[in-house]
């Protein structure tokens, strides 16, 4: 089996636009909203959503980034033995009382989202936290559910879902890599 593109550039763009519309539908006043992109690809996604929301609703939500490396549940346990790189966490605005929408590219076990929620809570007390993801590939290990989903993509556990975004990878697409062959 070979890798295949399951969502192409055009579909990615339309999906993101749809998510932006859904967010606007559920949040009448985007100025009370904060989009927080989770490193790495959640960051450009959050920015695109913020731009689109401003375009659709005339108001721009606050925009921030969070890196969950310092909140991971597996510090020092990563079997690959490589050292994690920690991206910047930038939450300039006041979290208190805001509706925070966490933004990430792929939702898988839910552990990253758990860490992101802990990080955000260390900055203040949001009114509510929601989750927007481009792809939900299933296999949750925690009781985490997304509020806005671009595409539901059932996968085998050992398959790999790769999201590519123009800002980082030069093109927009979602690729499914097959189960790795026995070595």
């Amino acid at each position: 089996m070979r890798s295949k593109t399951v969502v192409d550039a055009d579909q990615v763009r339309r999906t993101i636009a749809r998510i932006a519309h859904e967010i606007v539908e559920r949040h009448a006043d985007p100025s009370t909203l904060a989009l927080v992109g989770i490193h790495t690809r959640g960051v450009p996604l959050a920015k695109r959503l913020a731009d689109l929301i401003e375009e659709f609703a005339g108001e721009r939500p606050a925009l921030g980034t969070v890196d969950i490396a310092l909140y991971r549940d597996d510090v020092g346990l990563n079997a690959r033995g490589a050292l994690p790189v920690v991206g910047d966490t930038d939450l300039e605005f006041d979290i208190g009382g805001r509706a925070v929408v966490l933004v990430d590219d792929v939702l898988f076990t839910g552990r990253t989202i758990r860490a992101a929620i802990d990080a955000v809570f260390d900055y203040g007390r949001p009114r509510m936290v929601q989750l927007a993801v481009l792809v939900d590939r299933g296999h949750r290990e925690l009781p985490i559910r997304p509020d806005y989903v671009g595409k539901n993509l059932p996968t085998a556990r050992t398959e790999r879902v790769r999201v590519r975004l123009a800002e980082i990878d030069g093109a927009d697409e979602v690729i499914l890599d097959p189960v790795p062959e026995e070595a």
Partner: protein, 317 residues
């Protein structure tokens, strides 16, 4: 427990390692900007600070670094402990290691103490200063401070002024600054700069304080009072201050000043200069903690046994 990486000498680090630690320092600085100055990252890990040679500032810096990472931190001092009763460093390290700490931070009066500890413990050993040997976390916080306040190190000229012979700050700094692209020189009295220092460190050596003119940063070294006077390395405090003391008059516009502290006002540095906000001294002290957080995180973020001793892996591809 498998053996961990340690930070005993600046030579344990590659340029990539240093870049990674400095970048981590920025992340922890962000955490310090919050109200809640704590992250859960090292929850359940144990850090033992073994300060056989006393030091309030460095000990506090390491203690807070560990606690703000949510680690359990224990402070063991040399005096008032069983080491007073004659227990050797080796036995102390073995006993402390039996409690399975993840990190032992050691400050000791003798060079080589950390290498000895490493032979008897699987914990990560962090050198907080071993005699006249090395002080790698000082160099890292110095590099971090220079980056943030002055700019990239490539091409910068940093002059250490004063008692190089007895300075672990100068030893680690000469290696670390050069590794990051800076030019380093030693300026001081001939009695306080080892004859082979130029060759040993690849630096220019001068005995004329006016040669600081070429430096972008003047790094003033503490002049210990015991080293002056009868039988000492310089005839008197007054003569030292007159020939090598750094003050505003000796500096030109744009030169920055650093000092690892504690400062002897009026001896190696004038009181006015020590208080001058343009001097980086206070920034150095403040940055010490976030850089030490970065070091602790960096050492413990890799699983034990996954890395060869003394080697470091690069960042995730």
């Amino acid at each position: 427990m498998a053996r961990r990486r340690s930070l005993i000498s600046v030579t344990d680090l590659s340029r990539d390692d240093i870049e990674r630690v400095l970048a981590l320092g920025d992340r922890f600085a962000e955490v310090m900007d919050r109200d809640l100055k704590k992250v859960p990252t090292l929850r359940g890990r144990t850090v033992i600070n073994l300060f056989v040679e006393a030091s309030t500032r460095t000990a506090t810096s390491f203690e807070l670094a560990g606690k703000r990472l949510s680690a359990d931190v224990v402070n063991v001092k040399g005096s008032g402990s069983s080491m007073d009763k004659g227990e050797t460093l080796k036995d102390t390290v073995i006993t402390l290691s039996s409690y399975l700490p993840d990190v032992i931070v050691i400050r000791h009066a003798s060079a080589g103490a950390c290498r000895l500890a490493q032979r008897h413990s699987d914990a990560a050993i962090v050198n907080a200063g071993d005699g006249k040997g090395e002080h790698p976390t000082q160099t890292l916080l110095d590099l971090y401070t220079i980056r943030r306040e002055v700019g990239p190190l490539d091409g910068l000229h940093i002059a250490f002024v004063g008692d190089v012979a007895h300075s672990r700050v100068a030893r680690s700094g000469a290696v670390g600054f050069a590794l990051m692209g800076a030019k380093v020189s030693f300026i001081g009295p001939p009695t306080l700069i080892p004859r082979d220092a130029g060759r040993a460190f690849g630096v220019d050596v001068s005995h004329d304080v006016r040669d600081i003119a070429d430096a972008d940063i003047v790094y003033v070294l503490r002049m210990q009072l015991e080293r002056m006077g009868p039988g000492g390395f310089v005839p008197s405090l007054r003569e030292y201050a007159a020939t090598f003391g750094i003050n505003h008059a000796r500096l030109r516009e744009g030169q920055r000043v650093m000092h690892a502290g504690p400062v002897n006002r009026g001896v190696e540095i004038s009181g006015e200069l020590a208080d001058d906000p343009l001097a980086l001294i206070e920034r150095q002290a403040a940055n010490g903690m976030v850089v030490r957080m970065a070091v602790l995180y960096d050492l413990l973020a890799a699983p034990a046994g996954a890395v060869e001793l003394g080697q470091a892996l690069g960042a995730v591809a």
